[in-house]
Symmetry: C2
Subunit: 250 residues, 2 copies
């Protein structure tokens, strides 16, 4: 486990980071550092941009925070494993939570889909991206998950790379050992898509379409019905532990 | 997977359930059925009490919901596996969430603990119990997790049954295959305690005390730091899949 410094606040900035560089703060960032965290000129924080690793930076400005002076690199840039989290849209508050959790669990790409029983069809991509950044800041993650625009499930299935492993969680699946199923599967370095359906379940024609997909693995997450965000964390935990970067390979 | 009826609302009642019995509704229940769900006399719902399985019931009352007439059993009572979820206290909103998620994941007992770095020391047990009931209602779970009063971590460790397997998640652990570690462990039917520490991590003397426990397994949940509620769902997923009732044995 990397020893992370959680005493210093961590801030995402959208600028190149290198020793001695100066990074201007936008109004939200200046407000957050000065008024929320009550940090003044001279205080030190950590910054990252998703590309250049993590850096220590000093807050500069006559009185309040106006810019950051980049001092030294504290961690090198890392990369996330090739895991795409595909999920049926949920309503606002629960979608926020779902996105944050998927980031913590190491998803590299978030792909919302609409299904027959999905009750939400529009999504605020900017809000999803803000949740990605917030989770990365809080959890010390240096790579930002990419956020894709929602597409209908059928289109996602029609356009996906058939060489990738598709793990889909289905509450109508027979109860069977999910770890044995994952062990028999293999991603072969082609990447993994983890799909969580809507809380109303998949429609029968969607299930048939999923089962026809090449490299598809239908997973049962135990004998109790899980809410979609819980199922997402549980499925990502099993996939990361069995095939991803939790096994020490990452 | 049992085919659950999610079209009908599901209500916890604290009364014995048998064919033909009449169960009075308290004011909150009557309000929920009548004003929130807008159900009138004659409508049918599902009820459970944690002991007698799930039953179909008809709402009775002159105009608004006053009582339930128990009609027929729809599912037999089941039992949860012997998994205790031990967790450092969190603040209100996140604690609500943590409790709901632990119930979904099939924990049979919830044991809050205070640790050196826990920032919360008091807890509203009634609120925790209400969250247990709400999660069970929503997810079709028929057994209610028991809620214990918080104790200091040291006392919990001093009084625990040493024959039970103690899985504790530690972000300071070396990255190592968590599934291999769980596979080598065995609960031998004595029950499993899953312990999630506070977000500040364990103090060094707490970690040493944990490592001295008999039947203790120190688990690493991957290379990223997880928030406590996420770590709980992830750890319970791995434990249920490797040793619990997700493998078809339950």
């Amino acid at each position: 486990m990397p020893q992370l410094d959680f005493r210093k606040p961590r801030l995402f900035v959208d600028a190149s980071l290198s020793e001695g560089a100066s990074v201007a703060l936008d109004r939200d960032q200046a407000n957050y550092l000065g008024n929320v965290l009550r940090l003044a000129s001279g205080a030190r924080i950590l910054v990252f941009n998703g590309r250049d690793g993590e850096w220590q930076a000093e807050i500069a400005g006559r009185k309040r925070a106006e810019s950051l002076t980049i001092e030294k690199q504290t961690r090198e840039q890392d990369r996330l494993g090739d895991v795409t989290y595909v999920f049926a849209l949920l309503k606002h508050a629960r979608l926020d939570y779902l996105v944050q959790k998927a980031v913590e669990m190491g998803a590299a790409r978030l792909q919302p889909v609409t299904t027959r029983y999905t009750q939400v069809s529009r999504v605020n991509i900017e809000r999803m991206s803000a949740n990605v950044i917030e989770a990365a800041e809080q959890c010390g993650i240096l790579s930002l998950a990419a956020v894709a625009a929602p597409v209908p499930l059928e289109r996602y299935l029609g356009e996906r790379d058939p060489q990738r492993l598709l793990v889909f969680c289905d509450e109508a699946a027979e109860i069977a050992d999910p770890l044995a199923a994952l062990k028999d599967a293999s991603a072969d370095g082609k990447g993994i898509d983890v799909l969580i359906g809507p809380e109303g379940g998949f429609a029968e024609e969607e299930r048939e379409s999923l089962m026809r997909q090449p490299n598809a693995l239908r997973l049962c997450l135990g004998p109790r019905i899980l809410r979609a965000d819980t199922a997402g964390v549980a499925a990502l935990a099993l996939v990361q532990a069995a095939l991803g970067d939790w096994a020490g390979a990452g």
